[in-house]
């Protein structure tokens, strides 16, 4: 392991962006990183709210119309190398909001997330389970560590 990836693995900063889901996924993600039970901080994964400091972007929610632009801006503000995790059924395929009517397109929902920004890891669930969030974060790590 090079010095660069060694030091990168010591401080992985996760930024959570909320794009219009129901709040369930967000609380579970904050819970899995901060709370004493799951405590991702022991694996040197920290929560941040500043895109310029972040390494991993966790996106939840189906991306509503108003959130499309901010999401792109935040993605561009994160320095390379970066990884994106889409968490929850909403972020993966639009969730109930997009699909409950079958094929009728929805004007409110611009998602899923991979239509808007490239996604590296996908965490399923409605709401995501904290264990899955941790394994999602682990799955996204190689991209960060192996980058030049």
């Amino acid at each position: 392991m090079s010095l660069k990836s060694y030091s990168r693995a010591r401080a992985v900063h996760v930024m959570l962006v909320y794009t219009g889901g129901c709040n369930g996924c967000d609380i579970e993600i904050v819970n899995s990183i901060l709370s004493p039970k799951y405590d991702a901080e022991q694996y040197k994964i920290f929560l941040t709210w500043n895109p310029r400091e972040a390494d991993v972007l966790v996106v939840t929610g189906p991306v509503t119309k108003f959130n499309e632009e901010p999401l792109k801006k935040i993605y561009n503000a994160i320095p390379e190398p970066k990884a994106v995790i889409a968490a929850g059924a909403c972020a993966l395929m639009g969730g109930v909001y997009k699909n409950i009517h079958g094929d009728i397109p929805s004007e409110e929902i611009m998602g899923p997330v991979d239509k808007i920004i490239p996604v590296d890891a996908r965490v399923p669930g409605c709401a995501v389970r904290p264990e899955d969030v941790l394994s999602g974060a682990v799955a996204a790590l190689p991209k960060l560590l192996e980058a030049k």
Partner: protein, 377 residues
């Protein structure tokens, strides 16, 4: 907003501070505009609408069972109470009597959810205060509630417990589950009492929150505040007393005076033992029998309305049924009526208290973002 709080100095320049919709300090997307003079907030404006998904529009024309599941996705904090109330609308319209056991299980779920919401509020409030140790302690207690919810509902957030006519068969409470709930309640009561002791005897925290951002009783009534935020201002109002399913239980409605951050935080601390009390009574007197009544028949109804007391305030659902489909659905969530209080609480205080003033009203902007019409008072 308030005539008495107009600026006094002539040469002080009013600055506008805008936060959001996506901002590091706010977890949920909403927009706050603070008009500041000399670090004192003169006016505040909160705008929602960023995560508008049009739930009522999506619900239009859905089969009623599907629409009920969708209401659960309005809010990830109080998901159970949404499906509960939405199911209750249909039950009222179709005149379905649910079995007693089902009603007890619903109450247990509702109170467990209240516990988790209140604990989340306390953790969030302490984090905004800057007291992470307390926040971590509360998150630790909250994990027990989440495990109980996962045990009964099968998921940590969206449980889908209520269906028209009762509760889902997988949410039946057997001996093992009842035992687990009992143990969980003992743990929560003990830990919360410990926390409350530490909390009120901490002079630093107390001096930081006493008298900050108060909402007077009169203003709270004028702004149509609801839930624990209203009770913290001294108004004795709790819809649980009027709900049929709470009739067998004995509990106190707690009111405090002042409506400041301290009263709001203590309100939640004091409501937790009451919820524990209700759950204990429910598992002790849990009646036998079936948990689902499947004998009802669908028919067209007029507009049906239902109110319940959610963890954060009064929740209103209404729709009518037409050919098995949901029509004209309206949902009003607690935070909708509390937005006025959030704006009011910030005004006249230091800008560093503004975030506390907003958080003290227990905001949940996700559920607030639906088709709304604001009528000026």
């Amino acid at each position: 907003m308030d005539g008495k709080k107009k600026s006094s100095g002539q040469n002080v320049i009013e600055t506008e501070i805008t936060m959001g919709p996506v901002h590091p300090a706010a977890l949920e997307p909403y927009r706050v505009r603070l008009f500041v003079e000399d670090e004192i907030v003169k006016d505040a404006e909160i705008t929602v609408g960023v995560n508008h998904r049009g739930i009522e529009r999506i619900m239009e024309g859905l089969p009623v069972e599907k629409a009920n599941s969708l209401t659960e996705k309005i809010c990830g904090i109080c998901s159970n109470v949404h499906i509960w109330n939405s199911v209750m609308v249909a039950e009222k319209g179709l005149e379905i009597e649910i079995p007693e056991r089902a009603s007890y299980i619903r109450v247990i779920m509702g109170e467990l959810e209240r516990l988790h919401s209140h604990l989340l509020y306390l953790a969030h409030g302490n984090e905004v205060l800057g007291h992470e140790t307390f926040a971590m302690r509360i998150f630790y207690i909250r994990e027990t509630v989440m495990e109980l919810l996962r045990m009964i509902g099968g998921n940590r957030v969206q449980y889908g417990v209520s269906i028209i006519g009762g509760v889902r068969p997988r949410c039946e409470l057997d001996e093992m589950r009842i035992q687990k709930i009992k143990e969980g309640m003992d743990f929560i009561e003990e830990k919360v009492a410990e926390f409350a002791d530490r909390f009120v005897s901490d002079p630093m925290v107390m001096s930081r929150i006493t008298g900050v951002c108060p909402i007077p009783k009169k203003e709270a009534l004028r702004l149509a505040v609801s839930g624990p935020t209203l009770r913290a201002t001294g108004v004795d109002m709790d819809l649980r007393r009027d709900m049929e399913c709470y009739d067998p239980f004995d509990f106190d409605v707690i009111t405090l005076e002042g409506g400041d951050v301290k009263a709001n935080l203590l309100m939640r601390v004091l409501e937790i033992p009451e919820s524990v009390k209700i759950i204990r009574q429910a598992i002790k007197n849990l009646p036998g029998g079936p948990i689902t009544d499947r004998t009802w028949e669908m028919q067209d109804t007029g507009v049906i309305k239902s109110y319940v007391e959610a963890a954060r305030g009064r929740l209103y659902h209404s729709y009518r049924l037409e050919d098995d489909r949901v029509r004209g659905s309206i949902v009003r969530t607690p935070s909708m009526s509390n937005i006025g209080a959030m704006q009011y609480a910030c005004i006249g205080h230091h800008i560093t208290d503004a975030q506390l003033g907003i958080v003290q009203c227990d905001p949940c902007f996700t559920c607030t973002d639906r088709a709304i019409q604001i009528i000026k008072l």
